[in-house]
């Protein structure tokens, strides 16, 4: 009897979960459907007006038609790899400099007070205004773009790390020392898990800014990457290819952001 009841309960719980997932999928499908319909409507407007007919390739169906070419020719993959490489290195540099700087800001009052104004100032220099300087200072365009990405992405990482450290309960260190923790133990078992959530939140913000910066940074000087593909398709009037690239940028960004969000959830221990 008891076993029957409990299987009945678990199966009804399973049904609940399935219903919830289906509901979620349904609403997502409706939302994406509306987006697609709006896109289609926009395309139709372009097509029906003689003045804009030449831009009709921005519509959803010409775009879908352009997908096989963009994929098979490798254009999309090459562009994504080139951009991904620059983004990856740029973010990595931002993280490896941002976290230590953030720890320094969080741990040393003097450093925090001294660095706050200059850092806020540097943060608010729009990253692309460094471009001419970066191009001159760096031997290759690739490195200049990576520099611009790092310059934009380092601040969210550093400030989020410092904010995470500021929230640490000092008593945790006392407890850990009391139980015989070494300096390394405290870093590994206390500080890192305690601030992982905040650091990850900073990395997500950093990714968002880096993703904004990378496209205009790739408009100039180079012949690879998603920004270049945008520029190139525009110049060749290949509006279908252009729309495919925009869509790819959205999807790749969406996936990366989703991964960051999942990691943030994974590292979150806060109760609200």
């Amino acid at each position: 009897m008891a076993a029957e009841i409990s299987t009945a309960q678990t199966s009804s719980a399973a049904v609940d979960v399935i219903v919830m997932v289906l509901r979620r999928l349904f609403f997502s499908a409706v939302g994406l459907g509306i987006l697609f319909a709006l896109w289609w409507f926009g395309g139709w407007l372009l097509e029906s007006n003689p003045a804009t007919m030449s831009f009709a390739d921005f519509g959803p169906f010409p775009t879908i038609d352009a997908v096989p070419y963009m994929v098979q020719s490798g254009t999309l993959l090459d562009a994504s790899q080139a951009s991904g490489y620059r983004l990856g290195i740029g973010l990595l540099l931002a993280i490896v400099t941002g976290i230590p700087v953030g720890i320094l800001m969080g741990r040393s009052k003097v450093f925090r007070k001294l660095s706050n104004t200059p850092f806020q100032f540097l943060r608010m220099v729009s990253p692309l205004s460094w471009e001419p300087i970066a191009v001159i200072a760096m031997p290759t365009w690739d490195q200049a773009i990576i520099f611009l990405i790092s310059m934009a992405a380092v601040w969210p990482v550093a400030f989020a790390t410092a904010a995470g450290l500021a929230k640490l309960d000092r008593a945790w260190f006392k407890v850990a020392r009391n139980l015989g923790a070494s300096w390394w133990d405290i870093l590994k078992e206390i500080i890192l898990p305690a601030i992982a959530f905040d650091v990850m939140t900073g990395i997500r913000l950093a990714l968002g800014v880096a993703w904004i910066v990378i496209v205009p940074a790739e408009f100039l000087g180079i012949t690879s990457g998603l920004g270049y593909t945008i520029q190139d398709s525009r110049e060749n009037l290949m509006y279908g290819d252009l729309a495919v690239t925009i869509l790819a940028i959205g999807i790749i960004g969406f996936l990366m952001d989703g991964i960051c969000l999942a990691l943030i959830k994974r590292f979150s221990w806060h109760r609200n």
Binding site: D169, K174, A176, N178, D185
Partner: protein, 255 residues
Amino acid sequence: MSRSGVQISVQDLTHRYSSRGPVTFDQVNLESKPGEVLAIIGRSGCGKSTLLHIMAGLLAPTSGSIRLNNIEVKEPSPKWVMMFQAPHLFPWMQVSQNVGIGLKFANFAEDKIRERVEKTIKLVDLEEFAESNVQDLSGGQQQRVALARSLVMEPEMLLLDEPFSALDAFTRASLQKDVRSIAKSMGINLVIVTHSIDEAVLMADRAVIMAGSPGKIKEEIMVELPEERTAQDPEVQKIRGHLMETFRQASTATH
């Protein structure tokens, strides 16, 4: 566990927070025999909490020393651990991970950690919460986790800095009883700092009164009572009255 605790000797301990600052306490001498439960009673500000931090090796004395069986306490060690007023659990760890963290610091093997954690969690009556998030536990349960986290190290001396003051009366009573009996069964010396005379009578074998500024040990009273103690017991009431009177005299004499 057939240990019987350690001889604690505090010799001429003096402390000031800065070289020009006032003396927190002056020339404190204390002895506690193996397995004893010692209560230090005092008003807030008499330096009793500072004394406990020094005994745990978390603060350095200005002069004097603390020895456990002739080993001097100079830094924190799992052999002499302290429980604080708040549990200060690590919120990103489950109950069992919190309890096992000290063993992890000491590089114990995984299975050894699991075995000792399981045993200790059972000892403090938290078996059903072993995998819980510590933020879901009540204040009393959290303080039990903190107790287990200290006990799992099998310390020789456990220092308690008013660890039950934030709990409700029922929870406090059951923890007072359990901590004493666990310490007795494991052969651990307990040193409890408290401002509650009831707590001292219910838990201690001996109570010392600390008062004045700079703080000094004023009086010492043996609490000779059976293991089963309740607040209503006439014997308990009698010692409580005696302790209360002595405490009043000791603290008024200096003011």
